[in-house]
Structures are given as structure tokens and as C-alpha cells.
Symmetry: C2
Subunit: 431 residues, 2 copies
């Protein structure tokens, strides 16, 4: 299958810089981009698609989330973290069955597709169901049997999650033409004992997989770890061998200088979740400092329950402005750096060098923005327009591996009505 997208603006990457081509052509052969130019290619493509008035840009990469929490969207807003978690989240999540999780995750994937996300990392339950649904839906995703253990004396074998994840990895990693990956995800320091993390990290290493966890999201978590272990959460994971694996860690709001040195020296990606960090009152991660240090910073939405959506455009916008406000400096974050956080840096974090930018030879993971909207006009600086002016709902097409999954409100691989019906049933059952 080959496809030529024509008459559109294209935000391509050249020498690690964004360049906007006006009235240009993008050709796709199979799942791969084979032409980007203002010149029409000589090659005949099987199909030509007019994209006048649209901007093509790389699909967004959401490096941290909990998909099925869409079911809890907006529940318990404005409570303190403890009341929100123990009164509104955990009791409902406790009641959730496979069918609820399936429905919530399907809704999440619809939302992500409709707001321009092509690849995501999902720290949630029922990963095997997720693998099958995502294989059909056509997105790229990272799943895991997430490690957690609430009994300090539980053995790794009795816990069992490690063995399940090894099985998942062997069965599904790199399945669906590499779209599906199995990572080794640990919930957090405060929900695991040392043995669990050491053994799980070793299993991760044995499989050559990626390691993911939450790090220093709240001051409370950070301080309690210091008290309990006499070290920061990041140092605790480091000492247990976690970062012998390629790792991406969420939040890092309270990391210290030593933590950031470890991150830089071990190539650990920080996944910044500004909506969640602001909404839950967690604080300002030292993102400008990390960028200066050369730490890879990617973006995530966290779960819809603490955000309350899965809109990577909103994460870009928040990441671009809140640090300026916090540091009283309008120059501290730059639009191109933000856009890289949502695209190529995410691809790097997730070990996917073949996506995250529009370049020939890369996978055709592409979204189109409808530039006819009044707020996307005029275009003095396309990167700034995307970061500061655009909204998730401006996405009018989302394509993964050359296949259109969403276009103008329609989902081409997901039965949206059926998902809505399932979500309604779940909500009725759960509340």
C-alpha cells in the first residue's frame, strides 16, 4: 500500500531541528515515510489524498498514563490527595472487573487518537487484554504486569507478577509489527519491597526490556522514603539495579542534584506530567535544570482521573508556560524543546528510534491539524503555534504506521458506539 498526502504544510525534522514546508508532499510506502518535499515525487502512489489547509506533524508520544482511569474522570475533584485516593479512586478501582478496565482503556485510546497521540505507555491492570485490543486498534503502546507488593515479607515467587511479566514479554513484546512492547513497570518505592524491585529489575535486564516507575511525585513520598531508607526514591531504585535497564521515570518533582546526576549518567528519561503535578498540588519538577543538564525529558498525561484528560497538547502548553511563571523568566522554556518532549524525546524514552519525527525512512506516525481554525492563524512560527495556540481537538487525522486510525471525528479501528455503551454499563455498575 502506498499513499501520497498532498497540498499540506509539513513540520519535518532536519538535523534535529523543526522546519515547516509549505504546500508540500509526504509519501508513504507501507508503514514508512519515503518522501517529504515541496516537490511532487515522480513515483506514482497507489492513492493520493488532498490535505489542503492541514498541517502534518509527528504523532504525539504519551510516556506515562493509567488508561482505564478514564472511568473515574472528574470524580473527587478538588479533594486532598488522601481523600481523593482513598475515598474516590481505590474503592471504585477495587470493584473494577476486566470488562470495566477494557471499556475504560478503549475510551482512553479513543481520546488519545482524537487528540493526536500515536504511542503511549500504560501502567494499568489487565495487560493481556490491552495487548489484544491495541493490536486491533492499531496504536503503539507499552504495557506491563505492574509490580507492586503490599506485604513486606512476600517472596518474589509468591507475588508472581514478575513471572507473569516475563511470560507477557516472551509472548507479546514486539508483536503487531513492533507496535506492542512489554516493559517492566514498578508502581513505586512505597508499594514494593527491595527484593521485588531487585528481582524484577534483573528480569527486565535479562529480557533487554525498558524499566518504568513513579519517582518523587509528592514531597510526602520523597520525604518518607528518605526517612525509611535514608536515601531518595531515585537512589533507592538505582541501588537496586533498576537503572541498569533503559529507564523512563514519571514525575521527578522532588528529585535532588544527586538524583539528577544519576539520571544523566544512566540515561534515565524524566517523564514530566505537568497537568497532574499542578492539579494534585505536587509541585514544579526541575525541568529547566534537567534540560540544561542534558537529561532526556518526555511528557505524559498521567491518568484521566488526576488531569482530567489525556490531551498531550494541554501537557505541551502547561510544560511551556508554568516553568516561566515559576522562575519569573519568559525565556526558560522554548517551544521547539517542548515539541521535542512530546515527540522525539518520547520516542527515545520508549526505545523507538523509528518514530517521533517526520523524516524519510521513519514510520508514518503522523497527525494532521486543521489550520482553518481562527486560533491557528496567522502562522508566524509553526512550532509556537502548535505549543501555545493549538488544542487537542484541532487534530483531524491520526495515522500510525501509515494507517489512518482517526479522521474528522470518526474512529476507523474502534467501534466508538460500542465503547460508549460499554463505558455506560461500567459506570452504572461501578457507581
Amino acid at each position: 500500500m502506498s499513499l501520497l498526502l498532498k497540498n499540506c504544510d509539513i513540520l519535518k525534522t532536519e538535523n534535529n531541528e523543526f522546519i515547516t514546508l509549505k504546500n508540500a508532499y509526504l509519501g508513504i510506502e507501507g508503514s514508512v515515510i519515503d518522501w517529504i518535499s515541496t516537490e511532487k515525487p515522480e513515483k506514482k502512489y497507489g492513492e493520493e489524498k488532498d490535505m489542503s489547509g492541514k498541517l502534518l506533524m509527528p504523532g504525539l508520544i504519551n510516556c506515562h498514563g493509567h488508561t482505564a482511569m478514564t472511568l473515574l474522570r472528574g470524580s473527587g475533584s478538588d479533594l486532598n490527595l488522601q481523600d481523593w485516593l482513598y475515598d474516590c479512586m481505590i474503592p471504585v478501582e477495587d470493584r473494577m472487573t476486566l470488562s470495566d478496565i477494557h471499556a475504560g482503556r478503549a475510551l482512553a485510546m479513543m481520546e488519545m487518537l482524537a487528540t493526536g497521540t500515536t504511542t503511549f505507555s500504560d501502567m494499568y491492570m489487565e495487560p493481556e487484554d490491552a495487548v489484544h485490543f491495541c493490536a486491533e486498534a492499531g496504536m503503539k503502546a507499552h504495557f506491563s504486569r505492574v509490580m507492586q507488593s503490599f506485604d513486606p515479607h512476600e517472596s518474589y515467587e509468591d507475588n508472581g507478577r514478575g513471572a507473569v511479566n516475563n511470560m507477557l514479554f516472551e509472548k507479546y513484546n514486539n508483536s503487531s509489527d513492533g507496535r506492542i512492547r512489554i516493559d517492566y513497570m514498578v508502581h513505586a518505592e512505597y508499594t514494593c519491597n527491595e527484593e521485588m524491585v531487585r528481582r524484577y529489575a534483573a528480569d527486565c535486564k535479562a529480557h533487554g526490556a525498558l524499566f518504568h516507575t513513579h519517582i518523587s511525585e509528592t514531597k510526602k513520598e520523597h520525604d518518607e522514603c528518605l526517612e525509611k531508607h535514608r536515601k531518595t526514591p531515585l537512589k533507592w531504585f538505582y541501588d537496586l539495579g533498576a537503572f541498569e535497564n533503559p529507564s523512563y521515570v514519571a514525575h521527578c518533582v522532588w528529585v535532588n542534584e544527586d538524583d539528577m546526576d544519576i539520571m544523566r549518567d544512566n540515561g534515565v528519561t524524566c517523564v514530566h506530567n505537568p497537568s497532574s503535578n499542578m492539579k494534585l498540588g505536587s509541585g514544579f519538577a526541575p525541568i529547566p535544570h534537567m534540560l540544561r543538564m542534558g537529561i532526556n525529558v518526555a511528557l505524559g498525561t498521567d491518568g484521566a482521573a488526576s488531569n482530567n484528560n489525556l490531551n498531550m497538547f494541554e501537557e505541551m502548553h502547561l510544560a511551556s508556560v508554568i516553568h516561566n511563571g515559576f522562575h519569573l523568566d519568559s525565556t526558560i522554556m522554548k517551544a521547539p524543546d517542548i515539541l521535542k518532549m512530546a515527540t522525539i524525546n518520547g520516542a527515545k524514552a520508549l526505545g523507538r528510534p523509528d518514530t517521533g519525527s517526520l523524516e524519510t525512512g521513519k514510520k508514518a506516525d503522523i497527525i494532521a491539524l486543521d489550520m482553518s481554525r481562527p486560533h491557528l492563524y496567522p502562522d508566524h512560527d509553526t512550532t509556537a503555534l502548535i505549543v501555545y495556540s493549538a488544542q487537542g481537538s484541532d487534530v483531524c487525522m491520526t495515522m500510525v504506521d501509515g494507517k489512518i486510525l482517526y479522521e474528522n471525528g470518526r474512529f476507523l479501528t474502534i467501534d466508538a458506539d460500542d465503547v460508549r455503551r460499554q463505558v455506560k454499563e461500567s459506570i452504572t455498575r461501578l457507581y
Copy 2:
């Protein structure tokens, strides 16, 4: 003309609280709401409109902006304030003619309509042209011949702006069925001498008009005023009689306790502009403290050049989360308070008690959200959904005084193609 909107959810206000009616009816007679209920009215309306899958909510009120700066959207992003202002803004604004300002303002009004704003305040040049265009376009707006004076020895008469604004007030205030208002807007302390402000404020009082200005947007402005006048900008305006008028003042990032006492005691509204304050690195206005003190807080977008859009949903979202992050407290801002800031508080600031909420007897200033979007589902808490999950582009209908001005991407009172052509011509000429 009478119209019944049916089969929709309605976010009505009762006893100053938001209540969501499911599958309800909203009736409009002329420009006024005369029915809101889950019961179908007995009265026959001239037209019935099916609004299945939509949520009706009050139109948003943007209390601070500079409309024509849409032309500069995205120009000079990420520079420091001085370079941005003196290299990218002022030289272009200097070259702007009436036709440029007209085009930029028309684009701004399209953007506001498409993202749910029904009423706005506009601190910009060429107010008479604005009055005429807005009369046709059907929005509600506040314009002014803005006071500024760069010569400390200039007389009020030589400056002339006061006389022009008196003429504008007498000619246009409350025109177009009260949709158009003329306020007395002063640019800022640092662009006026005392005589200008004293005389202009007195003219404002003589006309019973509203007073508007910028206050303590940046630390630099605040500190320089302290040095120059031995008082804060707010105290300086207060001593010149400005707040003997009903007043709404933008930013208030650096106001102190005494300033806030003056605001409370004189009923001065703070117009919070979170996008602009964050993006320009101005800082965090003490909004939670003002709310506790009972100061009226409204929302504004500021100009599109420092935002970079006119999307009040984005302002609501930022206002709802950044203060939680800054104060490390997830309970400090509540979704209903934020929604009031964008609606009823704005109506109060602008002296329009007949708008800002959906209640029988109020003007039919109504927007509809398309609730079929995945990120607006499920609905555990409609107010939270609007504040935390919705986007400006979810607006599918905007109505002012019972007249639909925007619906499903189409502008019914503005020739959108002509505006785009005008903007293109202006950009070509200005850059």
C-alpha cells in the same frame, strides 16, 4: 422570535450554585431565557431545535484583552519581555493602520465565538470601528479610547483621549440593545501622568462608566512605581480617584495586602490572566487569597500575542491548576469557583447583571459543548468536566441575546473568508 432548545443537558444556576439538568429544555423569548426545566413547556415556541448530546452552559466572559494582537500571534515567542515588546510588538503595531486593526479584531472575534466567549473587554485602538463591527457581529463588548501619555508635561486637553472617550460614551454606550459599552480604560501607571488619570477618572465618574487598567503585572513595573511614587500602582490609581468608579483591573500579580484591602473595600475586580502571566514569566497572582478575602475575581486572555490564543477554556484550566501547584495544595481552587470566574464574576465586573448564568429572566448568552467527544465522557461532575477536561474547540454553538452567532464551524454574522483574506493582506503588508 422564540426558540426552544430541547433534549440537552443544561448547566443552570440556582441560588448561586451550578446544577446540571439532564435531557432538559431551555426556552428563549426574544433575547431572554424564559424556561429551563426537565419538563417540556406548555408554551409553543416559534422554533424548536434538537440539541441531543450537547451541554448548554453560560457564555464565557473575557474581561481583559487586546483583540487586534491576533495579527502578532506567535511572533517573538520565548524572548524576554523587553526584546519581545520592543523588537517584535511595538514596531509592528506602529505600522498597523485602521484596516489592519479591523482585520485583527475580526479574527479575534471569530476565535472568541468559536471557543465560547460571548462578552469581552477590549483595550485597543480604533474603538469606533470596533463598535460598528461588533454591532454587526452580535457580540457583547466593552471598548474605549485608551488613555496613555508619554509626555509628562502634556495637558489633558492636548492629549485629547479623554474628550474622545467622552464623545464615544455619549454616542455609543449601551448601543445595540446594550451589547456595546464604552469604558474608561487607562493603559498603565507607567504610561500616564497623574493629571491624565485624575481627569480621566473624573470623566469616567461623571458618565457613570466602568474604569479599567493594568495593575502590577510584572515585578519590575511594581517596584519601579514604588520607587517613583513611593506607593504601589494600585494605591497610585486609588489616590487619583480611579476606584471611585466601578473598576476591573488586569493582572494584580504583585499586589500587596494593603492593595487587596483597597480592592475589597472598593469592590475592585481582579482580572486574572493566567496564560499570559505564566508565558511572560510575570508570576502567580495571589488569587486564592483574594477569593478568601471576598474580592471578585474574573478571567481574561490578555492579547493573543502573549498567550497565544483567546481561549477562555484554557484560562479556566490554568487558573484551576497552577495555584494548586504553586501552593502544594490540591484543594486550594475549586472547579465551581473557576467556572464562576469565567462567567458570573465577569458579568459582575462588567456591570452586566443580566448575563453570566443560565436562569430564567437572564439574557440568552449561551454556548453548547459537544459532549460526544471522548474526553467529555463519563460525566461524574459537569463543572469539573468543563474546567478540567473540556477544550475551547468543543464549543459547537455560541449564542448572544438569543441569536446564534456561531455553529459547527460556521460564523453566521461574520464573513470568515473575507476576514481571512484581510488578515492575509495585513500580514503581507506588516511583515
